[in-house]
């Protein structure tokens, strides 16, 4: 039994609130070096913004903004970014995930290169966590049908 749920106030507030939430999530990911935060937390906030859209509208609205194929690609893209940065370190002649060697291709000293490598893998982790959160929520909430409002 699916109840059609439409409320102008809730939908407008959620639509207005979603961009600041996503901006804050990007801030949490990018500023994770200097304040509490990082890939996991920022990815969770990004996923929560999409879940808010599902609750206020329906699943079709979110699937129009973030297609299922895109979401599945993002799932694996995060892991690929993470292991790819590790493999770049391997190709440049250091150990796997040893970011200090990245100063050969980045215009910074080795210590700063470590910070930049950390930032890169935080971005990968954030993408992966966001996509997995959305995928788990959509699949469990709709029982795999991926359509209609929540019951």
């Amino acid at each position: 039994m699916t109840i059609e749920f439409k409320d102008v106030i809730i939908q407008t507030i959620c639509r207005l609130l979603t961009p600041p939430i996503q901006l804050y999530a990007l801030y949490v990911i990018a500023h994770g070096h200097y304040s509490p935060g990082g890939g996991f937390q920022g990815g969770c906030i990004l996923g929560a913004s999409f879940i808010l859209m599902v609750i206020a509208y329906d699943i079709g609205e979110v699937k129009r903004r973030m297609a299922e194929k895109m979401n599945t690609i993002f799932c694996s893209l995060g892991v690929i970014i993470y292991s790819g940065i590790g493999a770049i370190c391997l190709i440049l002649g250091a150990n796997y995930l040893d970011y200090g060697i990245l100063h050969k291709i980045l215009p910074v000293n080795p210590v700063r290169a470590r910070a930049l490598g950390t930032l890169g893998i935080e971005i990968g982790v954030g993408i992966a966590v966001m996509a997995v959160m959305i995928s788990i929520f959509l699949n469990i909430a709709s029982g795999g049908e991926h359509e209609g409002a929540l019951e």
Partner: protein, 89 residues
């Protein structure tokens, strides 16, 4: 059945409560967990990784393998959810 479960839980809880007598005090700066590996991370994080947030530097740099495996775990969880539940028409 419930009674048996309660007995098991109470025995486990009593053993653990008995073991807490030997645990270090709460907030003790000289407990073994606080004096062995972590001071190295705290003192060297700026000069080795230029990252003031020690949690980030340990998570992504010193223990990168751990986080790689953990990202793989959540990726696997997402894929398993799609494989188990998704029904295409």
């Amino acid at each position: 059945m419930r009674f048996f479960a309660l007995i098991v839980v109470l025995i486990t809880g009593t053993l653990l409560l008995y073991a807490t007598v030997d645990m270090p005090d709460w907030g003790d700066p000289y407990s073994p967990a606080n004096t062995h590996v972590s001071p190295r991370y705290i003192e060297k994080t700026i000069e080795e990784t230029a990252t003031p947030n020690i949690v980030t530097s340990v998570l992504a740099d010193y223990r990168g393998y751990d986080t790689l495996g953990e990202t793989t775990v959540i990726f696997t969880a997402g894929v398993v959810c799609i494989l188990l539940l998704r029904r295409f028409k």
